[in-house]
Amino acid sequence: MPSKSKAKKSPKSTIDLRLYVAGQTPKSLAAISNLKKICDDHSDAAYHIEVIDLVKNPALARDHQIVAIPTLVRSLPVPIRKIIGDLSDTDRVLVGLQIVGPGAC
């Protein structure tokens, strides 16, 4: 069930994000809402978000090397970055996704 959220401004660059969750657990739901909030707050880039439920596609966990849930993967731009957790620590998410530099905020 991919859900999409597009930035309104003309995109400087496209960021492809995949969020791996396992069913409708509180952690998964928190991660989804935290991610949407972060993307809305930092809308200077075009985000392409895909939420993957591993309960429905268990084989993808092996194919995509997912161990922890929730895991957020930035597949574009390269290199691939992985962030785990419910994304409640906004600063670390931003650093992890390299949306902002470590000293920017």
Binding site: Y20, A22, T25, K27, A30, N34, L54, V55, P58, A59, A61, R62, Q65, I66, V67, A68, I69, P70, T71, I80, R81, K82, I83, I84, G85, D86, L87, S88, D89, R92, V93, V95, G96
Partner: protein, 568 residues
């Protein structure tokens, strides 16, 4: 109340075991690993943890129809596949046949940033998917501790581990977990706190530059298990653990006798030879003919059509065959006929356990009736006396229990006491034949005697041991005032005895002649006396007749006279 009874009933069900199929391990654990529970296999790097786990999975899939899942954290499936290919395990084929499921879990701490609460549900999903795909009964994690390097939050990890073990137990999956050994603890991350059903510790140590692997079942809840350290080895057919726990003196004994291959030696052993299934020690100084004696036994065994295993630590099979030909023993023909298995390797080639295991494996393969070890004394060079002793103890025990006749050749050093064996195994052997050199009159000759032979009235004689082109001959030695006479002294003694005997014979002959002559003379005398006697008898008879006639005439005269008187 009813519930309580039911519970008690359930408790009475003995622990089910999942056989590993690993030689020896199932014997130590009394049937295998606890079924539906988790076993930790811990040890230092390179001690064989992964091998044990993979063999458990592979044998489970091949021999016990229990498919398995391998969750690898450290090596990729390709690496593992090539690692175990040397053991003859084709895990890629097994994976293709859905008997094995391989999942490589890569945990790269550098790639991951943690931002809040998480769990390891991804791992569970993968595991569940794997288990369901092939209907797995067995799972192996290698090495699950890698997660500790991948994730920073130990609190979450510990909670997830607890959940994992419960998850595995709920599904009745027999699990093997490998773990690195920690400082002062069994595992670095203290995993044994969560899993306490069975813990197996592997150890790899180097002593005198020779490696030795050992296995110990530290803990096995709910079952009796061997508590010792057991040597094990990994070779081209997988892992094998030395299974002998203790010396059990309960062997079946045989009354059958087998020839020693030397007719004269059989004669010394009640004329029948050794007992089948007995342990024979052939000890002696260098060059006293130990190997020849052993080869005679081999020859006799193969001649009966039985199989023989000859393990040589000193000479190559070719060399022994050549040397034995010089005394008329053709070992080559038995090798060609597939009755003699002649194996040779250097004692320093491996550690003592490896020797033992190799011998075990050979015995298993060859299924011999007679095993010869030549010489056991050389094994000390690869280990300590105590270890060699314990190895031989195990070997003797195992061979006795299977009714194999064993001959050990032992070299006695020049300075050692003759009736002592370096390894002190004399008490373990049933028949001890001692070979020694005797120096006399500028000669060195071989002597043999039966020091002991349990259960038979063996000869107490010291025999001279003569190697001829037709094998071994045992000649009774002479014991005189000068000591034991052997070699040319014996020959001289024999010649002397022969001369004496001749002399005695001649004297007796002369005596006989003299007596004969006297007898003839007396008989002649007797004949003439008999003739004389006959004359006398005849004379006497004639005299008697005359007298009788005369008496009759007188009587007639008297009657006539009376007649004439009466008529008047």
């Amino acid at each position: 109340m009813a519930k309580k009874t039911k519970q008690r009933m359930r408790e009475l069900v003995p622990l089910q075991k999942a056989p590993t199929g690993i030689a020896g391990l199932d014997e130590i654990t009394g049937g295998g690993l606890p079924q539906g529970r988790t076993t930790i296999v811990c040890g230092g790097p390179g001690c064989g943890k992964t091998m044990l786990g993979i063999e458990f999975l592979v044998r489970g899939a091949l021999e016990f129809n229990e498919p398995g899942v391998l969750m690898a954290f450290e090596e990729t499936p390709q690496d593992i596949a090539s690692n175990v290919a040397s053991l003859g395990f084709d895990i890629e084929k097994l994976a293709a046949e859905k008997k094995l499921f391989l999942d490589y879990i890569s945990v790269e701490p550098s790639e991951v940033a943690e931002t809040g609460d998480y769990d390891l549900e991804g791992l569970f999903i993968r595991l569940q998917n794997a288990v369901e795909t092939i209907g797995a009964k067995r799972v192996m994690f290698d090495t699950v501790e890698a997660l500790f390097t991948g994730f920073a939050n130990p609190g979450i990890l510990r909670a997830e581990f607890r959940r994992l073990f419960r998850w595995l137990k709920d599904r009745g999956l027999t699990t093997v977990l490998t773990a690195e050994r920690g400082e002062g603890t069994l595992t670095r991350q203290g995993l044994e706190e969560y899993v306490s059903d069975c813990v197996i510790l592997l150890d790899h140590r180097i002593k005198d530059q020779i490696s030795a692997r050992r296995l110990r079942v530290v803990k096995y809840r709910g079952t009796k298990h061997g508590a010792d350290e057991y040597p094990f080895l990994i070779d081209q057919r997988g892992m094998s653990v030395l299974p002998i726990t203790a010396l059990q003196l309960k062997h079946e004994v045989s009354n059958e006798r087998i020839s020693s291959g030397v007719a004269d030696l059989d004669e010394m052993l009640e004329g029948k030879g050794y007992y089948r299934g007995s342990t024979i020690l052939l000890s002696g100084t260098a060059g006293s003919g130990k190997t020849t004696l052993a080869a005679s036994l081999v020859d006799a065994t193969c001649r009966r059509g039985e199989r023989c295993l000859y393990i040589d630590f000193e000479e190559s099979p070719q060399q022994v065959a050549r040397n034995m030909k010089s005394v008329g023993i053709d070992l080559g023909q038995w090798s060609d006929k597939g009755l003699l298995f002649h194996e040779a390797w250097r004692p320093t080639q491996f550690g003592i356990e490896m020797h033992l295991l190799r011998i075990y494996k050979l015995i298993e393969e060859v299924k011999p009736q007679v095993v010869v070890l030549d010489p056991i004394t050389n094994l000390i060079s690869s280990s300590s006396e105590k270890e060699v002793y314990s190895m031989l103890l195990r070997l003797i025990d195992s061979m006795k229990s299977t009714g194999i006749t064993a001959a050990f050749v032992s070299l006695t050093g020049g300075s050692d006491s003759l009736e002592g064996t370096n390894i002190g195994i004399s008490s373990l052997t049933d028949t001890w034949i001692l070979l020694r050199d005797v120096e006399l009159n500028g000669e060195r000759n071989r002597c043999l005697y039966v020091l002991k032979s349990r259960g038979m009235a063996h000869s107490n004689q010291l025999r001279e041991f003569v190697l001829t082109g037709d094998g071994i001959q045992l000649v009774p030695a002479y014991i005189g005032s000068g000591g034991v006479l052997t070699g040319s002294s014996r020959v001289a003694q024999e010649a002397k005895e022969k001369a004496d005997a001749l002399l005695r014979q001649q004297e007796a002959q002369a005596n006989r002649l003299r007596i004969d002559r006297r007898r003839l003379a007396l008989q002649a005398q007797l004949e003439s006396l008999k003739v004389e006697l006959a004359d006398v008898e005849r004379e006497a008879a004639e005299t008697g007749l005359e007298e009788h006639q005369r008496e009759a005439e007188l009587k007639l005269d008297r009657e006539r006279m009376a007649e004439s008187r009466g008529s008047k």
